[in-house]
Subunit: 453 residues, 2 copies
């Protein structure tokens, strides 16, 4: 006999402390893909966590970090795929953490650590859900389960697309659950129908072969000032991106999208409190803050030029570097934007600016009518006891594009452990333990029903 | 009987190795005023160097680093004052040094070290000159000598002006020899009639209380982009500084200045080779490169915002900082420019931008007809065997303003050990040993004659 939802919930409640301990164990292992710190050790730890559960585990090398594929067969021929990643963002600036980023600490009902939400807590919540269904069935799972856990999500997943194309049989499935799902400030589960794409680049300006004394600034060319001109050419004070053709393929929100935005709560007060914002981009207010996700962006990740220390140093910098990410909306194409950016720089007299591609992902959307989307909404409302939210497009990006189309146009959903105030990618990243428990309950229900959808 | 110039030269030649060793000893002691590294130890070493020579030494505390005043009486009531500094610029970036900045190394006829030219080699060359005159006189020097050696020149000499006002009797003199003199690429001694002023500031922009995920860049305000707008408001692509009233007190070059510029050699080829420049500021060419020193500047010393590491990090920076120095021409006033900068920021909607003053110095000029200027030109032509150059205004700044007026409008000259390719303030700073010897010979002649001017 199949377990009831209440039985699944009881199992998860009884073992909650163990799973938070397992999450802490994983978060204590650094795995910063941007620098390489701890990445391989973390892959090994994830492998062990699957082996403890008798998954069939493949740790598959790539030109970057290894990808772990872990599978369990089921009673139904249908297979549900989970995508997660074991790498994390760099923890800097360290001095802004209340407790060290790789010393997981529980306080006030939350687990604080780099990776707590993104994406280690989420991975363990899913393992907990599978454990629960499996324990209560006593036999095989009601559906097959495949985990794909990669180690380069935070640097743009440069190898995942080729990996999926090379392993279509191993990854064959009928639907997927993506990473980084959220619950809003009111505790409502969020269902996202799409993600933006991304193109990340580095621009380097060199005007001299070495720094010069600033007494020569009337004649010796500054890389810092030239970079300011380059940046000014990319985006105006009106927030409009100035690269010719940049918006050509960008789809506006549909009428249905507008309805879904209208049904969403006003995020302004929450964002203002969380980020200490005085004025939003372009003076946006209220629900327009969410709607603006259909505006592709040109974000400066960081600028480095000249003297970086205390006090002052009277030099003219000979080199200046900026890292930029463009968030792209359906149907923009990072390859196309990269070519247009290069053409723009050349046309603006910046042919000397060195342009390096750091990473790219494509935007993806799924239909609101898909059975898996509906299952996710229904079970989510049951677990959280609140009406689900349906978000037409989220601001972030993910390598979902690399799976959805190559694996046969599978539907992809995204329930998870996150919450808006969780400081993802920032100091004091933390996961609410209640969210962890609810995410596990939600996933357990989906695993229980997916085989017979 | 007074020594001949040939006797002075012989003394200096015979002891040259000892003086290069003494310069190395001083350069081996770090003294980075921007960070404080080694500053007090270096002050102590300078004190010892004066004491070895039986100067009357006062090491006088300030709110910053101590100032050393060292005096020797002379046969004439006239006193010549030397200004030097024992602090140096930060040595970073360290990886661009051929040999470590604080391990002085002689190669190819030059001494490589941070401070070799600016300003430790120069100080020792002057001590050598005084040693020579003194040794050959056998009795008192022909004029009184006062050295003022401060430890905060590289951070804008924040305490020197008050120090001079407080110690006018101790510092009473009839003329002064400033630091950082140069010989041009053709070996001609340069006489400078003036220096620019400087106003150094730090601007800090904060748009949020913490960094955010760049997926929110369509709504969450970026400090990096706001800083780009602030910088754009300060100076246009035409190089014109946009702060209202900025140029109000700026004097253009006079007709005499234009003649002096015309007599100077074209610096273009030398600058192009030294700094690897493709295009100079505003497309300047030839002698216009020097003339442009009468254009005050707005130089970016450095920008720090967002992610500074390898790879990428998808964040929106919540804070951005720029350090700027304005080089000011006669009769611009740093106090006035600071007030105009604040007013400009406020008027442009940047009232939230935090403005910190890092340092200021005033522009100063001296008459080309002054007897000390003429003595310097004549003896310089004798030592270097080439016609002197007379430069109406140099691009750098110095605290000469703090001495010239308070000490009674004394003339100030500036012969020294520097050369254009010496990489002052940059990696591989070095002093040509030939320049050191000639500077000592030049100073010895001036000391010999100054008492009877």
């Amino acid at each position: 006999m199949n377990p009831t939802a209440a039985e699944l919930d009881l199992f998860l409640l009884e073992h909650l402390d163990d799973y938070i301990a397992e999450t802490s164990e994983l978060c204590a292992q650094p795995s910063v893909s941007a620098t390489g710190e701890g990445v391989l050790a973390c892959a090994g730890l994830v492998e062990i966590m699957f082996e403890r559960r008798q998954f069939a585990v493949n740790k598959i090398p790539t030109d970057g970090n290894p990808i772990i594929v872990a599978r369990l067969g089921g009673a139904s021929p249908r297979t549900l795929l989970f995508y997660n990643h074991y790498d994390v963002q760099p923890p800097e600036p360290l001095e802004l953490w209340t407790t060290p980023p790789f010393q997981p600490t529980v306080r006030d009902g939350a687990l604080y650590a780099r990776g707590a939400i993104d994406d280690k807590g989420e991975l363990i919540a899913r393992l907990a859900a599978v454990d629960a269904v499996r324990a209560l069935h006593g036999g095989p799972l009601p559906c097959g389960i495949t985990f794909v856990v990669e180690g380069e999500e935070e640097i743009g997943s440069p190898h995942i697309a080729q990996f999926v194309r090379d392993h279509k049989e191993l990854l064959a499935c009928h639907g997927a659950i993506w990473e980084q799902g959220y619950v809003d400030a009111g505790g409502r589960p969020i269902n996202t129908l799409g993600v933006r794409g991304i193109l990340a680049v580095q621009l380097t300006v060199r005007t001299m072969s070495l720094d010069a004394h600033s007494g020569g600034a009337h004649m010796l060319p500054s890389a810092a000032w030239r970079l300011v001109r380059v940046l000014d050419s990319l985006k105006g004070p009106d927030e409009r991106i100035r690269i010719p053709g940049f918006y050509d393929s960008a789809l506006p929100p549909s009428a249905l999208d507008e309805q879904l935005f209208e049904a969403m709560p006003d995020p302004e007060a929450e964002l203002r409190a969380e980020y200490g914002v005085r004025e939003f981009v372009g003076g946006l207010r209220g629900k327009d803050l969410e709607r603006a996700v259909f505006s592709p962006t040109c974000n400066i990740q960081g600028i480095t030029t000249g003297y970086q220390g205390g006090g002052m140093k009277t030099v003219i910098p000979h080199e200046a570097t900026v890292k930029i990410d463009f968030r792209l909306v359906p149907e923009q194409d990072p390859d196309d934007i990269f070519a247009k950016l290069r053409a723009h720089l050349d046309a603006q007299g910046f042919a000397d600016v060195e342009l390096t591609r750091l990473g790219a992902m494509w935007p993806v959307r799924v239909s609101a009518d898909d059975p898996l989307v509906k299952l996710c909404i229904r079970t989510g409302e049951e677990v959280y006891g609140k009406p689900a939210l349906v978000e037409p497009l989220v601001g972030g990006s993910s390598p979902v594009y690399a799976f959805a189309k190559p694996l046969g146009g599978i539907p992809v959903i995204r329930p998870g452990v996150g919450h808006y105030a969780g400081r993802t990618h920032a100091p004091d990243e933390h996961m609410l333990i209640e969210n962890f428990a609810n995410a596990a309950r939600h996933i357990a229900r989906i695993v229980e029903e997916f085989g017979s959808l």
